[in-house]
């Protein structure tokens, strides 16, 4: 809690999204710039959001049988090179340690961009037979991908925090069956906690993770009309197990290569969440993730001060079941306090003054809508609980409506181009699955295929690009 002298947001979300977004992040004190360009400093308010995401995701993963581990930060160059597609995908973005103290290293060490190569070199030793499988490991850590094109505050940072799940199965069937469970967990966390909707689908070959056979993602839509990839799950088949010799003896006594998957959710979601819900007065944070859910602001004058403060402190007892804060600073006017907590995205404000005290009530103000209502002190906790749930639900609802409104159809290349450049958003296009048609669309309209949503039934229709049969739609858009 700083001295309260932040200035408000001076850019408008509708007019200058980039400037507005940056101001929201900085002025809400969610994050700050780092002396190293493209890296992010997470301040207490922002890190608390990440802790909440971690906590919920971690509990669901553990329930599903996943174990946490920690593997080292550094990967010797020779290991990174073991799987050809993998190194090709990541080499351009690797930060290399070449010196320690005043000595040159014999072999360069990659700062992990992702841990497949290091982990798989090690875990192969832990597996002997089918009885050791499945082995489902996870780590919460930091990774570095030195993007030079367009690092964007939190959304695309050169270092980010994430979970990287790595699971190893005896059969392809078991490996494939994990997808629904993991993506279900990610969907639950993004929808029910971050209040972020998205389309769950399969990426095109061109957009598949380096070294994987198939990538599935949740695709979000930002308010500026650009899409951004959320959590993902990759089916690696036996690509890595062959490169790293991860074998097991099956029930029949034969040596087999294992099947592997990987999956991740990252700090990027914090940026997507803030960009989606926040407004021209500052951050809006869903109640389930908010470090402070309710702030009580006493409205005092010189005579009433002691009595009102004493009563406000009692209110805090009634709010013990929430993450509540009493703002009893005496150097700021109530108005300044309102502005500050609105800027920081506290979901609910409770105002309490001498008149309220007399009438045994308080005034509740929602951050998302600004709606005010008086509630009896005797039912304060119940009303706060109800209001927080209502805010949580309404944020998801609003974001879902925005996503639906901004998902459009295009039947021709010209329509695709026209829709994308006039309105942005996501565009549903029939696609036959051919990489050449994907290129045709890119050339015609810019952007890319985001994914092919799983939640659709095949119907009759033809590919936008080639006119051949295309029973399903892909989502197309410009993307971060």
């Amino acid at each position: 809690m700083s001295g309260g002298s932040q200035e408000g947001i001076t850019a408008r979300k509708a007019d200058d999204f980039d400037e507005w977004y940056t101001q929201v992040i900085l002025k809400s004190e969610v994050a700050d710039y780092s002396p190293v360009s493209g890296c992010v400093v997470y301040r207490p308010l922002g890190y608390a959001i990440w802790e909440a995401i971690q906590k919920e995701t971690d509990a669901l993963l553990k329930q599903d049988g996943v174990s946490n581990t920690y593997f080292p930060l550094f990967i010797p160059e020779r290991l990174l090179k073991k799987e050809a597609e993998h190194v090709e995908g990541f080499a351009p973005e690797v930060a290399w340690v070449t010196e320690t103290g005043s000595s040159k290293l014999d072999e360069r060490l990659a700062v992990r961009p992702t841990s497949e190569s290091l982990m798989y070199e090690v875990v192969g030793r832990w597996i002997r037979s089918w009885r050791d499988l499945p082995m489902r490991l996870n780590q919460w850590n930091n990774v570095v991908r030195w993007e030079t094109k367009n690092p964007t505050f939190i959304l695309r940072s050169r270092e980010f925090l994430w979970n990287e799940g790595h699971s190893i199965f005896a059969t392809r069937e078991e490996a494939d069956a994990e997808r629904e469970r993991i993506m279900g967990i990610y969907r639950k966390v993004t929808e029910e906690y971050l209040a972020l909707p998205g389309y769950l689908g399969k990426k095109s070959k061109a957009e598949t993770f380096a070294g994987a056979e198939g990538t599935y993602s949740i695709e979000h839509l930002l308010p500026d009309g650009k899409a951004i990839q959320g959590p993902d799950w990759h089916s690696d088949g036996q690509n890595f197990s062959k490169a790293f010799n991860i074998v097991f003896i099956d029930r029949e006594g034969n040596k087999q290569y294992a099947y592997q998957n990987t999956w991740a959710i990252s700090t990027r979601e914090i940026g997507v969440m803030l960009a989606t819900h926040s407004d021209d007065r500052g951050a809006v944070v869903p109640p389930r993730l908010a470090a402070i859910q309710v702030v009580v602001v006493p409205i005092v004058n010189d005579e009433s001060k002691e009595a009102v403060l004493a009563e406000a402190r009692k209110l805090m007892g009634a709010l013990a079941g929430f993450r509540a804060r009493l703002d009893d600073r005496d150097n700021l006017t109530p108005g300044r306090k309102f502005n500050e907590w609105e800027l920081k995205g506290v979901p609910l404000r409770v105002e309490f003054g001498p008149r309220d005290m007399k009438e045994g009530q308080a005034v509740m103000v929602r951050r998302d809508t600004g709606a005010k209502r008086s509630v009896k002190l005797s039912s304060l906790a119940a009303e706060v609980s109800k209001e927080l749930e209502s805010i949580q639900a309404s944020l998801l609802q609003r974001a879902s409506a925005f996503l639906a409104e901004n998902t459009r159809d295009a039947g021709t290349l010209a329509e695709l181009k026209e829709t994308l450049s006039a309105k942005g958003g996501m565009v549903r296009v029939r696609w036959c699955g051919d990489v050449k048609c994907e290129s045709t669309m890119k050339e015609a309209a810019g952007g890319k295929i985001l994914n092919v949503p799983l939640d659709q039934k095949p119907t009759k229709g033809v590919c936008l690009a080639c006119g051949r049969d295309a029973p399903t739609f892909a989502l197309y858009g410009r993307s971060y």
Copy 2:
């Protein structure tokens, strides 16, 4: 849970501590070697211990008003150089990133050995007046110190996980007052969770953290008679605030430099804990930290199998309040299971066979002492709870007795040398505080001053080295 074909520990703790320790870590599946020498892979069993340490420490820190944050991994070289003693202390151990992708960087980036310089460059911007203080920030992260002398598995690793707390105060008094609270938290976690005793005291100037005015530590003693430093707290005075210009306007309207402290507990404690409690049959893990606290092993023959297993599954319901596991693998004998869970340090084993079933009882076996006793099924949960508490208490008691037995007195340099080389352990020596006398002792006996314990009353006596007045004792020993 692997196929159970681990071989047991083949070295003896009393005969070959180093080999025994390494075998305990590897064969218990707590950790494994990394392809990069000196870095550690924490397997599920080991990482669960770290999660438990984090959880307890983090809750206590938050209760005390500390907020979590995340600051980037990379520190530009120019920042690291801002505080002269600090860079001098760390430069020989820094891992440097010099290239990204295929480009050379203009400025080398240090992989953080600790985050003072990066954090303080940033947090200065967040502080305007005394109202913004204290600002008490923490991060749980990974740091790299490229030790070349003697990396030791978990105890001294080149990358380790820790918390780094950084707090900023308006006055020296407030800053100093934090020491007791933070060291109290660390003492609580090490004693009550890790069951590790230690001496809390002040380091000598020679052993003070690079850039700090004073360092306080908890010093543990390993079974091989060598000391090892546990958690620490540093008083930085205004050293860093002057180097990084961390100033605030005080109540009188004057600009002041702030006072700072830093503090840490690291994954090293996992190694100290395992070295201390484990035995020739494998790991011994205190119940409060154990990923699995109780394992139920059914003893079945062909006829009784179904009935015993069904009843054992019911037992798991009664044990729902514990981290309990039923080992119903059908490819291993009970004996093999016993060995495996002893190797992995599960505090309590419950054996349950056809005879037990008839008599409505089970057999409880303690990992630490091997003591067996029968308990009625009706009181199983209560007895398990009691036994786990007893194990927890007894581990601390035993380690405390070992520490007390191996803390000896020396009145002369010759006695110091003799005691250290004959018996190791810690030696209480009167010391006047002069750095020259510290050097004299080092030359005479090897080892070093560990710390000057806080828990002592000044008495009359003279310095071991110079004969001048020395009212207090220092602890002296060989150290990791």
